[in-house]
Symmetry: C3
Subunit: 186 residues, 3 copies
């Protein structure tokens, strides 16, 4: 498994954990629904908009990861909750990874830098937005403008690098670092 | 028309009725929008995720059923409202039918039991979730965890039956009965 | 560029402006997200439901128009806000244009008048509904029943005209005028 695919799984798992925590904080039992929304919501929207097979329909191990995270958080929510800070950083990793991978998929399919930036932002942010809509919270982890700005930075810098012909790994790391810095620095 | 197809139409009609009742309870005039959301929302999401033609685009009689229910409820809302209990049971039928049919469609297209369970849950629950989001209600009929649990039971038992080679009609009835029991028993 | 295509761009721009104003009124910084939702949300849902390539993925100039409107409103929000009345009329133009174009696309793809009316209503209203859900407002510009009724009038009259064999430009203008009259007259 290459590093980027590993980040993809990690992003799904981390966002699933934030959904499970949101459910736990509101004392909801619909844990599964919320972390599915968080973990696979953004990538689902991306694939539907790009008219691609939805990633977890093609490869259901993503759903199993979400389910495994659910069980873990269900038995360890108290412990994870006290590690809120740790989770904030993991969430920043997920956001940064998804902004780059959403943009990469959009750019590969359409060749359009504009579409690439938009799919990067949508992939990174819409899972969390859906989670907050369903949980009836305005925003769980952070003020939304930082979220969107960080995703925009990651997607735009990756896209700019890729369009100007930099090696993919370099564009990916630069986009990831930019999104992580904006999100983590806030 | 076979029994399952009949249940499909019945499910759409019953969920359309719950949407119209939600609109009536909040004294909204956007009845049509709410019961369209309730009646065809879940199946639309299922078909989009599975990359299939959306069922009511391929066969618009589903929309006409929703419209017919709208007119009926518009002229009889007072009467139906006093039969709340009766509607709760109909809603349980719709939920049970959609959890099985959503799973069956997911399984037929992908062959993956995991995807089958998820599409069953999404089909049965997302129409009602969309209705409540649009109506600004936390939950109209029941606490959401029962809703999701019932759909999960129906989809999982149908899928388990089908994967282990039971005759379709048996898996369908077992899944339907499980979802109906969890939902109706709560 | 023919007149209808011009209206298409105008509708996207006008709805983008209403999203940016909604963000400005709530003092949100996620302007971009809200006006993307408003400007391209309805057409995205339409294309996904009809299983067509999403219009702004195929032609990213729509996104650039949204971005240009964002910058304009960002520097002129104060001025535009004082021209609220003027915006209400522009919004009526966007609604009327989208109800006709959504119906036209649905009818061209499926040949079904029922689907045509539904896609017209969804295209014209769902961008604004998404905007209000994300902004946490019940309704920014007007009570929703007028919004849905106006879209229904526009889509139904266009569809009726087109099905009965009237020249397209006549059906389009009649539908546009009907939606505009219902929306603007309220």
């Amino acid at each position: 498994m290459n590093p980027i695919a590993l980040l993809d799984y990690a992003g799904v798992a981390v966002f699933a954990a934030t959904g499970a925590l949101a459910a736990s904080r509101k004392q909801l039992d619909i844990i599964g629904f919320l972390f599915l929304a968080s973990g696979i919501g953004g990538g689902t929207l991306r694939d539907v908009i790009l008219n691609l097979p939805v990633f977890w329909v093609a490869n259901s191990s993503y759903v199993l990861i979400c389910a495994a995270v659910a069980v873990l958080v269900f038995f360890a929510a108290h412990r994870v909750e006290s590690r809120w800070k740790w989770l904030l950083w993991l969430d920043a990793i997920g956001l940064a990874a998804f902004s780059v991978m959403g943009a990469a998929k959009g750019l590969a399919i359409t060749g359009s830098p504009v579409v690439s930036v938009i799919t990067g932002v949508l992939t990174a942010t819409s899972g969390g937005i859906l989670r907050d809509l369903l949980a009836g919270e305005p925003s769980v982890l952070l003020r939304p403008e930082i979220y969107v700005t960080a995703a925009l930075a990651g997607a735009a810098i990756f896209t700019a690098g890729d369009v100007t012909g930099l090696p993919p790994i370099f564009s990916e790391l630069a986009g990831f670092a930019a999104a992580f810095a904006v999100r983590g620095g806030a």
